[in-house]
């Protein structure tokens, strides 16, 4: 058709996309000002993007900066839109796609309340030890475990606790950072 106009291999030609959804962790550096979280969350809901996990906290008090870590599932095309739409918000400084940019560390913390006595209680303790979970509260018929790690590790710990008297779980959502010496 357009042989005379086919992309020249210039870096400015965007690559064709595959349209399978992927899970990506985005790190968003923002001004810590009123309404910033509503702005980010509102963008996701208004444009129909998914949020699988969201964490936000001030990270540099002196410069008034917060970091938002958001995990989303989207096709590459939508993912590009998400990043560009986020970057367009006035208080957003930077948007990094940690998944696309290579090696990154992802951690989550969970508090897990397990009730019971007798053998199930002893089994819960043994498993907690194996998962390096801390006991942060104890009564004669319950524990609260604190466990940190990748979300998959927390998922498996919770699954193991389920038959042993799991009462409730609270998770922080994901905190993520790139490996190596360079910062955002």
């Amino acid at each position: 058709m357009n042989a005379h106009l086919l992309p020249t291999g210039s870096p400015y030609f965007s690559v064709p996309e595959t349209q399978l959804p992927e899970r990506h962790t985005l790190s968003v550096l923002v001004d810590n000002e009123p309404g910033i979280l509503a702005r980010v969350v509102g963008l996701f809901s208004a444009r129909g993007y998914n949020i699988d996990s969201l964490t936000v906290s001030e990270t540099e008090h002196d410069r008034g900066l917060s970091r938002i870590t958001v995990v989303t599932v989207a096709t590459p095309k939508v993912l590009t839109q998400i990043k560009l739409q986020l970057a367009r918000l006035v208080p957003v400084h930077k948007v990094h796609d940690l998944t696309a940019e290579g090696a990154s560390l992802e951690r989550e913390l969970a508090l897990i309340k397990v009730g019971g006595t007798g053998e199930p209680r002893s089994e819960a303790l043994r498993l907690a030890d194996a998962f390096r979970a801390q006991i942060v509260d104890a009564t004669t018929e319950s524990f609260v475990f604190e466990v940190t790690g990748k979300p998959s590790k927390i998922d498996s710990f919770i699954a193991l606790m389920a038959p042993l008297g799991l009462i409730e779980v609270v998770r922080t959502g994901l905190a993520a950072i790139s490996r190596g010496p360079k910062g955002m």
Binding site: L5, F13, S14, D31, A38
Partner: protein, 589 residues
């Protein structure tokens, strides 16, 4: 020079420091300190509207016809909620606005106080950015930043919510240049496009055999010099030019390379050129669904270059091969420079077959219509209006519907910033107040709102504003006693069942004009039309012109929803109109 003053005085000072001479507004309890400050100065003139929606559209008309920021002042609660429609309209069409809304005192916020509403919450998704100012010393910085954000990058509306106690409080005022680094170090919109990408674009343009420039509102927003660059680029390259509804005027409607508007009601030649081109150069447009038609059949074989200042517009709807993020005027200037450095001969021969093809499409005369000697055809009325105003400095606004599309088809523009219409949001009621805003900015120009009888009633009350400020706007109503565009869709899609699309109990527009203190004219006879138009143009004051037109005229050509560009309905269609769109197309809007 740091100076002590109240928050209300800061508002006025910041307005003058940012070059504002007119604001559109409506008072109320929470806004009274600012109104008091307004009363005690005369650098800024306040135009009192009749409804805050009118203020918003007036500011839009003012902004689009001048390139300056339009400014609105409203009170808390209902004042603020009434500007939500114009804010959304301005966001969709990239119009720079600063809206100042008063808020209840900071001590009352959150208590469901009288006329309290969560203005920043409500307007967060319909502004480019918004602020609630709780400390008077933040006010100067926020106001200056609001003007900067509204007018730079991709322009848009910015709202500043100012509680009443902040308006009363004393604080330190600093001017725009004394603020130093604005707080939002994060905001730095793109300007120049990437040089290598622009060079790559020119390379493609030099090799293209069936190219087309597809231009949009971004060319107008970049300023008059961008339109000049477009004209230069078109002349150098010899490429055909089409434009979106919002881009009309950036290339002259009388220009030899002009294809007419593209899109759903665009010309056959423009849409066919888009469909069959080998190189599409999109400048400041956004591949909106009214332009692309069925997206998977949109210009299937072309290489696409997209120049836009907003990176998120690129690749959103259509995959493009060569994105260039930057200001359209600067990018085109660079294209002109590089093109000149490569060649100085237009590629007339290489493009000749393409122009021959375009001539064949043009011969279809897709904006054609059958005229009548007994009833006024709406297209004919617009053509006569255009003929009567030729050579004058004329600005046109519109409402939304068939009349809007006919105006875009039959009223060509030679200059940018002379055509104001609600494109993205399609807001009925936009045109009359927008015309008021345009006339405020250009007191000696001829300003015409081409209207439908349904739309115009949505903001009719601003006729009173026009009379109060002696703004001689001309409201030219194409009265088909129908919501014509709705009626047309009901014929296309719903078996001609006209659910609620009659304009019943219409007012007598002549008497209505007189009741407001303006002039009313009615015309239903094609033979008397020219004289009636002349009477309207001669009258020094606001006129409501009730032009009674053919009731069931369809707005054609049309790309039916769910169809690609090369399956347009042309004016000479022969099928039953209700059979054209299939089941899938019916679900689209």
């Amino acid at each position: 020079m740091a100076e002590q003053m109240t928050g209300a005085e800061m508002v006025l000072r910041a307005l003058t420091n940012n070059g504002v001479t007119h604001i559109f507004g409506y008072p109320g309890g929470a806004a009274l300190p600012i109104y008091d400050a307004l009363f005690q100065q005369d650098a800024v003139q306040h135009i009192l509207v009749r409804h805050e929606q009118g203020a918003g559209h007036m500011a839009e008309g003012y902004a689009r016809s001048t390139g300056k920021v339009g400014v609105v002042l409203v009170t808390s609660g209902p004042g603020a909620t009434n500007v939500v429609t114009p804010l959304t309209d301005a966001l969709m069409d990239s119009v720079p606005l600063v809206v100042l809304s008063a808020q209840v005192s900071t001590t009352l916020i959150g208590s469901d106080a009288f006329q309290e509403c969560d203005t920043v919450g409500i307007t967060r998704s319909c502004t480019k950015h918004n602020y609630l100012v709780k400390n008077v010393n933040d006010l100067p910085r926020v106001l200056h930043e609001a003007f900067h954000i509204a007018s730079s990058g991709r322009p848009g509306p910015v709202l500043v919510d100012i509680p009443k106690d902040v308006q009363f409080a004393m604080g330190t005022y600093l001017g725009p240049d004394e603020i130093g680094t604005t707080r939002h170090a994060s905001y730095h919109p793109a300007t120049d496009g990437d040089a290598a990408a622009i060079a790559a674009a020119v390379d493609l343009m030099l090799r293209a055999e069936r190219p087309v420039f597809y231009t949009g509102g971004g060319v107008i927003n970049s300023g008059p010099q961008a339109s000049e660059r477009l004209r230069e680029l078109a002349e150098l390259t010899g490429f055909p030019v089409t434009s979106t509804l919002l881009g009309l005027g950036s290339y002259p409607g009388s220009g030899p390379q002009w294809l007419g508007m593209l899109g759903m009601h665009g010309s056959y030649e423009a849409n066919m050129a888009m469909h069959d081109c080998d190189l599409m150069i999109c400048i400041g447009a956004r591949f909106d669904d009214r332009i692309t038609g069925r997206i998977d059949a949109f210009s299937p074989n072309s290489t696409k270059i997209h120049v836009d200042i907003d990176a998120s517009s690129i690749g959103k709807n259509v995959r493009v091969h060569l994105p260039i993020i930057g200001d359209s005027g600067l990018v085109m200037a660079e294209m002109v420079r590089i093109w000149r450095s490569r060649t100085n001969a237009p590629r007339t021969e290489a493009l000749a077959p393409w122009w021959e093809q375009i001539a064949k499409w043009r011969a279809k005369n897709s904006f054609g219509f059958t005229n009548s000697t007994t009833t006024i055809k709406p297209q004919h009325a617009i053509k006569r209006l255009h003929a009567a105003t030729k050579g004058r400095d004329v600005y046109v606004t519109t409402e939304v519907g068939q009349h809007q599309m006919w105006a875009a088809q039959h009223f060509p523009f030679e200059l940018p910033n002379h055509w104001m219409t609600s494109g993205g949001l399609g807001t009925m009621g936009y045109g009359l107040p927008a015309a008021v805003g345009v006339q405020v900015a250009h007191p000696d120009a001829l300003v015409i709102d081409i209207a439908g009888e349904a739309s115009v009633q949505m903001t009719m009350q601003e006729m009173s504003t026009a009379v109060q400020y002696k703004l001689p706007i001309k409201i030219f109503i194409l009265n088909n006693e129908r919501m014509g565009m709705v009626r047309q869709w009901q014929d296309l899609l719903h078996g001609g069942r006209y659910a609620s699309s009659y304009s019943e109990s219409l007012p007598d527009f002549v008497k209505l004009a007189e009741a407001y203190g303006g002039k009313g004219i009615r015309c239903s006879d094609p033979a008397l039309l020219d004289a009636a138009i002349a009477e309207m143009l001669d009258y020094d004051g606001p006129v409501l012109f009730d032009c009674l037109v053919e009731k069931h005229e369809n707005c054609l050509p049309m790309i039916p929803s769910g169809k690609p560009h090369n399956e347009m309905i042309l004016p000479d269609f022969t099928e039953a109109i209700g059979d054209i769109i299939d089941a899938k197309g019916r679900q689209l809007v």
